[in-house]
């Protein structure tokens, strides 16, 4: 089983391939259809942010095992070298948008996944790490 992959997001089709890879991996790990949909949607949001706000970035997908109880899960890392996010608190508020969208992307991803971590340096790029555990 291929349990690690990295997808470049340079255009809109990259979003689709990242999504497909995510669905495949989460299915292999054993997620049910609802969680599969959550994970793919989260990947879709993260990949779209890369496509909308930066030149190029990547989505890394890894299957992981939890330290304390051995549960399996999927780790999704979105990494880019884009402009970075000025105010992290703002982007995590529902309805905040700079692209004219719904502004539900990042807070939505946080709700879709179990763990969520965002690091961003203005001018250097953004890394968002999220994990979803099997129930």
């Amino acid at each position: 089983m291929n349990n690690q992959s990295c997808i470049e997001i340079g255009n809109e089709w990259g979003i689709v391939s990242a999504r497909q890879a995510g669905r495949e991996l989460s299915k292999n790990i054993g997620f049910g259809s609802v969680d599969q949909a959550r994970i793919t949607t989260a990947i879709s949001e993260l990949a779209r942010n890369i496509y909308l706000y930066t030149e190029i970035g990547q989505i890394e997908l890894t299957s992981v095992v939890k330290d304390n109880d051995g549960r399996e899960g999927i780790k999704v890392v979105a990494r880019d070298k884009g402009p970075g996010i000025e105010n992290l608190r703002d982007v995590m508020v529902d309805g905040f948008t700079t692209s004219g969208g719904l502004g539900a992307g990042l807070p939505g991803v946080k709700r879709l996944m179990d763990e969520f971590d965002i690091e961003s340096m203005p001018g250097e790029g953004t890394t968002i790490t999220t994990v979803k555990w099997l129930r």
Binding site: E12, V16, R19, S33, V34, Q36, A37, R38, T40, T41, S44, E45, R48, D94, G101, L102, G103, A104, G105, P107, G108, R111, L112
Partner: protein, 283 residues
């Protein structure tokens, strides 16, 4: 003026074909998408490639272009991986330069090898050109085919139309959906439009945003939009994302949507029995 090296290749054609064939033995010609290719099929492909390349020495550049074009065409339609062909031309370079250095003097060798490199570069460029040209054609064709499949507005009853959306929605498709929707509403004089998203694999904020915008536009032209075909897992992700679809009437299936649409236009579907009993009452 015939170049020295081409004459040399022509004179020693059978020798070179033999040696090139041998050096290609360790080359594995593969097909894209890991489709199985047998040894025989590979050998056939290699032989054809060899003959196309050596033919080019004798053919005019026009005829040669045609031959390469036909060959590239077959490559693409049968799904052969392109990089191996470039690699095998590089194998030919090794074979020829090795022999040339034995057959010519040192002074001649420089000129001859430059000539040969030019000829080989020409071959590689031509193959790559034809290959990418055909691949572009295929892509344009697929795009057109996809566009034809994408989002038609289907009138099902008087004043009621359905738009089934199948597949991924990107920016281009979203624009097209909007256009079809609005034009179709005017054309069919629809009052209610059902947008069916059963076939949409992922509804993220962008897709939702496009659907919301489309329904607003529909409202502006005086019709109403119902969203149907929301699968349970999609419903949950929409709630998680916090997307507000309050402005929409939503139904789980197209069937329920059509019933609701009929209600909105003051009609119902009755069985013939019901009709008779109703008719009976009226009398």
């Amino acid at each position: 003026m015939k170049s020295v090296v081409l004459q040399h290749l022509k004179d020693n054609k059978s020798l070179y074909i033999e040696e090139w064939r041998k050096s290609l033995e360790q080359h594995e010609f593969t097909k894209q998408g890991s489709t199985f290719s047998s040894k025989d099929m590979q050998q056939e492909m290699k032989d054809e490639f060899i003959s196309v390349v050596f033919q080019s020495i004798e053919l005019s550049s026009e005829e040669n272009r045609d031959a390469v074009h036909r060959f590239a065409n077959r490559l693409i339609y049968n799904g052969w991986a392109f990089s191996e062909f470039i690699r095998s031309l590089q194998a030919l370079r090794r074979v020829v330069l090795h022999n040339v250095s034995a057959n010519f003097t040192k002074e001649e060798f420089v000129d001859v090898s430059v000539e040969f490199e030019d000829w080989l570069d020409e071959q590689i460029t031509r193959l790559a050109e034809e290959f990418s040209k055909i691949q572009n054609e295929v892509m344009t064709m697929q795009k057109t085919a996809m566009k034809e499949l994408s989002a038609p507005l289907i009138p099902v009853f008087d004043k009621i139309s359905v738009m089934p959306i199948v597949g991924t929605i990107d920016t281009k498709r979203a624009a097209q959906i909007m256009e079809n929707l609005l034009e179709g509403i005017i054309e069919h004089r629809a009052q209610v439009v059902l947008i069916d998203i059963t076939g949409v694999p992922v509804v993220d904020t962008m897709v939702a945003h496009h659907i919301i915008k489309a329904s607003e536009a529909v409202r502006l032209v005086g019709a109403e939009c119902l969203l149907v075909g929301i699968r349970p897992e999609i419903a949950q992700t929409i709630v998680n994302l916090g997307i507000d679809l309050d402005a929409f009437t939503t139904k789980s299936t197209l069937k329920k949507g059509i019933e609701a649409a009929l209600e909105l236009t003051n009609r119902t579907i009755e069985t013939s029995e019901q009709m008779q009993s109703n008719g009976g009452l009226k009398r």
